[in-house]
């Protein structure tokens, strides 16, 4: 089928299912950024596939006019990996929260990165478990008091950007729902990147942990002259706890998983090969 000929606006990418997020939730900004990127990149509706886990953020796919999959908690990445590898023509997004992606799903992150699966993984990091009503998450600050941590958490928070950099992901960026325009640019860049792109979005939860103020005070775009091929510099910015640096931290070119796979398939291709060829090898 032909691509859509008419020009589409980001509104056209709304599915008609109304987002159920609380008014003011940071996730709306991410939603708009994604709609915007899809419109600007003119991705046909039927070629978008979005996989997500469970959480407020995980409800995302249903709100976009696209093929979507609201899976189980923590498995957005393997789900999306399967989609992309089964049909490389799809534009694939994986979506989740900080609990979904860094806690229960934390084991998948480095593996998606080392495979360099061509998809964009957006984590809406609100430093809290939103959907289950406010338990601390792996990115919650030490000492956070909630019902599940009435005396304050004892654990240090994780630094997701540092970890994904250490996993040598081919595109690493951070955005902030408090800066929706910059965020929209980032999401588009992530989707344009061929290979695994990781975008951490600081997306405050107004109901359980409103961090707009805290982060507005320290958010800053990475310096114009930041060299996105410099892993050392990227790591330093990621580990800086005084400033919340925003933008593309790191980017490198590398063949994506499906490209490597396609090469392999070409390499082993044999004309006329079929099940019978395999069976015949076992004739006694």
């Amino acid at each position: 089928m032909a691509e859509q000929a008419i020009k589409l606006t980001s509104d056209d990418y709304k599915s008609g299912v109304k987002p159920i997020w609380c008014p003011g939730c940071g996730d709306y900004a991410v939603y708009n950024a994604v709609l915007n990127a899809l419109a600007e990149l003119k991705v046909p509706f039927h070629k978008i596939a979005i996989g997500s886990g469970i959480g407020c953020s995980g409800r995302f796919p249903a709100f976009v006019k696209s093929y979507g999959f609201h899976g189980v908690h923590g498995r957005a990445l393997p789900l999306a990996t399967g989609m992309k590898m089964a049909n490389p023509e799809l534009t694939v997004l994986a979506i989740g929260g900080d609990g979904d992606g860094f806690s229960i799903g934390g084991g998948h992150l480095a593996h998606a990165a080392r495979r360099n699966v061509d998809l964009t993984y957006i984590i809406m990091d609100n430093e809290i478990y939103g959907l289950t009503k406010g338990q601390p998450s792996p990115t919650s600050p030490q000492g956070m008091v909630r019902k599940a941590s009435p005396y304050g958490t004892l654990e240090q928070p994780l630094n997701p950007l540092a970890m994904i950099l250490a996993a040598n992901a081919s595109f690493v960026a951070r955005g902030f729902s408090g800066r929706p325009k910059d965020l929209a640019v980032l999401v588009k860049r992530g989707m344009e990147h061929k290979g695994f792109s990781f975008i951490q979005v600081i997306s405050p939860c107004v109901s359980w942990y409103n961090t707009y103020k805290k982060f507005r005070a320290i958010a800053k775009m990475l310096p114009e002259d930041h060299d996105t091929s410099d892993m050392g510099a990227a790591m330093k910015y990621a580990q800086d706890t005084e400033t919340l640096w925003l933008g593309v931290f790191f980017e490198r070119k590398a063949l994506a998983y499906h490209e490597l796979e396609a090469n392999l398939q070409k390499q082993v291709h044999q004309d006329g090969y079929g099940v019978k060829s395999v069976v015949d090898r076992f004739l006694r």
Binding site: I48, G68, H70, P78, G82, A86, Q265, R284
Partner: protein, 581 residues
């Protein structure tokens, strides 16, 4: 008098390569036109340790590992000690007389071969296996040319010289045996049927892999685990040639979720694992069920619970397969019992998954996974290949992914199809996929999904997934599944020869259970007998829970497959009880 059925076991140190001697012996036999069935154990050690390799060779079809041994080949003292009890009273022990002593007491015959000496004399000390092979080729009367061909194929692949050396050594072993063991016919095989049918020789995991390809598999996501890994390895080599993809995932949870994602995107997707992996996949199986995504999962059962005995066989994941999801998740459970049906059942598995949009579990087991059998050449055209029901997206109506159809099967679009977008939703959902907590909607969707089980029942009953053995209206009705079949078939033959009325019904379809077929079969039976390789009698319980049937159970759970003799004995006991009644 020469025989038409011979059971031979080699026992020794794993590192010494005697397993491959057994394997080669089996392949020479197959090549020569015999029917072959192998059985082996694995050492507990990671390298070395005691192993045994058993091969049964027949002029007619052989379906189990055999009862007592006709020939025991002891390549070291352990090889004797650990196995002589399994030798038939007047059996033969062939042993390495350089390393092993056979006490005089036994009633059996023995032939010592100075394996080390012979190999050394020919300046090829690594040729011990070939010496032994030669001796055995003579003893059981295999075709020497076939033996030479096979040696070249196995040992001569990298260097023709090594192949030749092995042939030379093999011939020396053969000569030694010929001198010291003039033709004793009771260990010699009758000639195979001339111009017998074509046969494949392969193991269960290979047949499953090829069956998957025939069923259309083009995506495999998996994680290594004994005894399933060789399916992944087979498909790693083959799938790319079919334009397919194999991904070794970071764990089983990732594997099954990749499979679900791939299937959603249109692939015929599968995974294979064993008990611990199935347990980890349980959550995602529920996901596939509620989102109605086709998935094929092969469970090559091993002994549990937990890590258990990974290299031993068992049938104890039936409960897990049927019941092991949170909530109520329609799915299909199939089982395979021999190498041949591994192939065809995989076709049925993909057809069921794709057509009914359910997860399909296929239960195999460790014994079957690496047992080599000669089997009739697969008829690729016989493989079932039903596809997904696609929606008519040009109808002008808005597409309803989870439409409330009568069959329960709602036409399913695939990413890339214009106008077919929807969200596969793990929450309870409305017909278009949007989440819903409404009681009425819940009732409708739940009924719709569960209605598929009836549709499946009605359709799959016609899929040739059932087999009858022995009497069709027996006094003793055996109900079985999976790996026990071969031993049961032989036991039934023997019992019927003694005048006992006994027959068996085997089904590949375990869930939904073919209720009518089973009820019909057991009608009129005086007793129902269910042999299983597990402790609880899971199939017997399943039969009771579904059909209210009461059965005499026979359970083994020590990690070894059944032998025909023990089943025979149980059936005879039942026959005696019936007679006395």
């Amino acid at each position: 008098m020469a025989v038409n059925d011979l059971v031979l076991r080699i026992g020794g140190e794993s590192g010494d390569g005697y397993v491959s001697t057994g394997d080669i012996l089996g392949r020479i036999s197959a090549q020569s036109g015999y029917e072959v069935y192998t059985f082996r154990t694995f050492p507990a050690e990671i390298l070395g340790g005691h192993v045994m390799f058993q091969v049964r060779i027949g002029t007619k079809k052989v379906t189990s590992r055999g009862d007592k041994l006709d020939i025991l080949v002891a390549t070291n003292q352990d090889g004797y000690e650990k196995h002589y009890r399994d030798l038939r009273e007047d059996g033969l022990i062939v042993y390495d007389s350089n390393s092993t002593e056979i006490p005089a007491e036994g009633g059996w015959e023995s032939l010592g071969v100075p394996v080390v000496d012979i190999a050394r004399k020919l300046k090829y000390p690594r040729g011990k296996n070939a010496v032994l092979l030669g001796a055995l080729v003579h003893l059981i009367g295999l075709n020497v040319e076939e033996a030479e061909k096979m040696i070249m194929r196995r040992w001569g692949r990298k260097s023709a010289e090594i192949g030749q050396k092995n042939i030379e050594v093999m011939r020396a072993g053969l000569d030694y045996a010929a001198e010291n063991w003039p033709e004793v016919t009771s260990y010699r095989l009758l000639a195979p049927k001339a111009g017998g049918e074509e046969r494949l020789i392969m193991d269960g995991n290979q047949a499953i892999s090829i069956g998957a390809l025939a069923g259309g598999a083009n995506f495999y996501g998996g994680y290594p685990i004994t005894p399933a890994s060789s399916i992944m390895e087979f498909l790693a080599a083959e799938l790319p040639k079919f334009g397919g993809v194999m991904i070794q995932a970071e764990d089983e949870i990732a594997a099954i979720n990749m499979v679900i994602g791939a299937s959603f995107a249109g692939a015929h997707a599968m995974t294979a694992t064993s008990g611990p992996g199935v347990a980890l996949m349980s959550e995602a199986l529920g996901l596939a069920s509620i989102t109605e995504i086709p998935v094929v999962l092969v469970d090559v059962q091993r002994v549990g619970p937990s890590t258990g005995m990974p290299t031993k066989t068992d049938q104890s994941d039936l409960n897990l397969a049927i019941y092991g999801t949170a909530g109520e998740a329609p799915k299909v459970v199939l089982a395979v019992g021999n190498v041949e049906e591994c192939f065809y059942v995989m076709g049925a598995a993909f057809s069921a998954a794709e057509h009914f949009q359910v997860p399909v579990l296929v239960l195999s087991d460790q014994d079957l996974s690496n047992r080599i059998q000669t089997v009739p050449v697969f008829d690729i055209n016989r493989v079932k290949r039903l596809s997904r029901v696609l929606p008519d997206l040009d109808s002008g109506k808005e597409y309803e992914r989870y439409a409330l159809t009568e069959s329960g099967i709602s036409p399913m679009s695939i990413p890339g199809m214009e106008g077919g977008y929807y969200t596969a939703e793990s929450l309870e959902h409305k017909t278009k996929g949007a989440p819903s907590y409404e009681p009425d909607n819940r009732n409708q969707q739940m009924k719709k999904r569960c209605r598929k089980m009836e549709t499946i029942s009605n359709e799959m009953v016609n899929w040739e997934l059932f087999k009858y053995h022995g009497d069709r209206n027996p006094e003793i009705a055996v109900l079985g599944w999976g790996t026990s079949e071969g031993a049961v078939v032989e036991a039934i033959d023997r019992c019927r020869a003694k005048g006992i009325s006994v027959g068996a019904f085997y089904t590949n379809l375990l869930h939904p259970l073919p209720a009518e077929k089973i009820s019909e079969f057991v009608e009129g039976a005086k007793v129902i007998f269910v042999p299983e390789l597990n402790y609880r009698g899971q199939y017997a319980n399943w039969l009771r829970s579904q059909l209210g049937l009461e059965a005499v159970r026979y359970n083994r759970y020590d990690g070894l497959p059944f032998i025909a003799g023990e089943i025979e004995a149980e059936i005879e006991k039942l026959a005696a009880q019936i007679a006395a009644f």
